[in-house]
Assembly symmetry: C2
Homo-oligomer: 279 residues x 2
């Protein structure tokens, strides 16, 4: 199996490692990497994450599988270059937004392009942060599969299943709204927590007190600004809607606290506790 990974960041490199582990007995697994960041190419090669590096799209157009794991705006720019791909090639992308990407898929490759969103990640970046267990037991959302051929869809599904992932199907519009609430808004909030502390007179003195709660809440404020700006751009309307819903809750709390309605504050917290009956 010839696999091309476009984008050797955390997601792409971890996927490569997961494939190598899972298919280590398949003699013919060959992984070719591409990345505009030359340092990433070197690191991926030196650490046996990929077998080869190329900067020529033509070298990968006959792959069995192309994995696109680059920022969502870059995905849209890349798509036209894949028009010459073999009809046997299954393409997947790992973009965190789906509607605009799907709208941009050229009709020539639409049925072989399985739009995916693996619900996993880390605040760390690059091939050196790669983790072969990053995908194991995690959800992957496949969007608008009615536009895929059965053959390519099955191929992609089998790979995800082989890596121990749980597949969920969803309309791209709904995916983008749900992803705003479950991922994009929480990232915005984490960045805002970090910035609100850093804006204080002596952030060092405040941060000296950081315990596990603050570490959890600020962890994803380390995430890549390039990647997340693109996501916010592509999912603008849903992001605003989810931030509005979040601010409604914060404003409600502030109002209750100002009015010293402590019983209602407690009820509001009890409501939040219910999350963990579902999650």
């Amino acid at each position: 199996m010839k696999v091309a990974i476009i984008g050797l960041g955390l997601m792409g490199s971890s996927f490569a490692l997961a494939l190598k582990k899972r298919y280590k007995d398949e003699k013919k697994l060959e992984i070719i990497g591409m990345d505009i960041n030359f340092q990433h190419c070197l690191e991926a090669l030196e650490n046996d994450i990929v077998d080869k590096i190329t900067d020529e799209i033509n070298d990968i157009l006959d792959a069995d599988l192309i994995v696109i794991s680059i920022p969502v705006d870059a995905i849209i720019n890349l798509l036209p270059k894949l028009i010459g791909v073999s009809k046997n090639t299954t393409i997947v992308d790992f973009g965190s937004t789906k509607e605009k990407i799907i709208q941009s898929i050229p009709k020539e490759i639409r049925e072989q392009f399985v739009a995916s969103h693996p619900m996993t990640g880390k605040e760390k970046t690059g091939p050196l942060a790669a983790d072969r267990k990053l995908y194991r037991g995690k959800v992957v959302v496949l969007c608008n599969i009615q536009d895929n051929s059965k053959e390519h869809l099955e191929f992609a599904k089998n790979i995800y299943k082989d890596l121990g992932m749980k597949i969920i199907y969803m309309d791209a519009k709904k995916h983008d709204r749900h992803a705003a609430f479950i991922s994009h808004m929480p990232h915005a909030v984490s960045y805002a927590i970090a910035n609100s502390v850093l804006a204080q007179e002596n952030p060092q003195a405040i941060l000296a007190l950081a315990g596990g709660g603050f570490v959890s809440m600020s962890r994803i404020a380390k995430s890549s600004p390039q990647m997340w700006t693109d996501i916010f751009k592509q999912n603008k309307e849903n992001l605003i809607e989810s931030l509005d819903a979040f601010c409604y809750e914060i404003d409600k709390l502030k109002d209750l606290v100002k009015k010293e309605k402590w019983e209602e504050v407690k009820e509001w917290m009890k409501d939040a506790n219910k999350l963990h009956e579902i999650l």
Copy 2:
């Protein structure tokens, strides 16, 4: 050494386990527990977290150390009952707010009461969640130590050091403001994230997509409503101030996103990344 632990929740029970581990070679370590929750008393006794249980304050007034690990409002209510305590007893509390508690310490026991805030915890509660490593390597803030006698301060400090904690000294007023930013506001935010998702039409469908980022951001929304309502009550002004600072950042982001100022969004995220140069 006779130690009384008032409050056998996560904090008190974990402290008892840490003491037992550290001083296991001291034949005379005896730990007496008190808790208004009878179930907690039973669990602490059955799991060898404490050696004895009492509901009589008189049984503990001759202890070498009294540890108060109950909600902050309950601490204030308890304080007058400690007036008869031995002059040799060192008292510490683990309240997350310090100014109102310190103002409430009866003058008779002021010099032996070392106001402490260990910057550690978990979203889990009760003796069954106790973890003897909860305090190891963590910060403990001691407030207004100028009001302590040298002897009692040294006694408390030695215990914290023996458990591997890092001691920071701080004025109670400053502590409460810093704690609002580093702990109380992030808890409010986590509760608000949970409630904003639960308020949507189909929270199950959204939560099915939860990855590591959402899990981190919603973890502390599982925390005790009683405990956190009390903290918000005692630290009302600082909480509001920290929430205002946080909302300023969220509003700034919303404005940039609405105006599609993507370069500025990216810069805002890069600013947040700087947190991790300090933390």
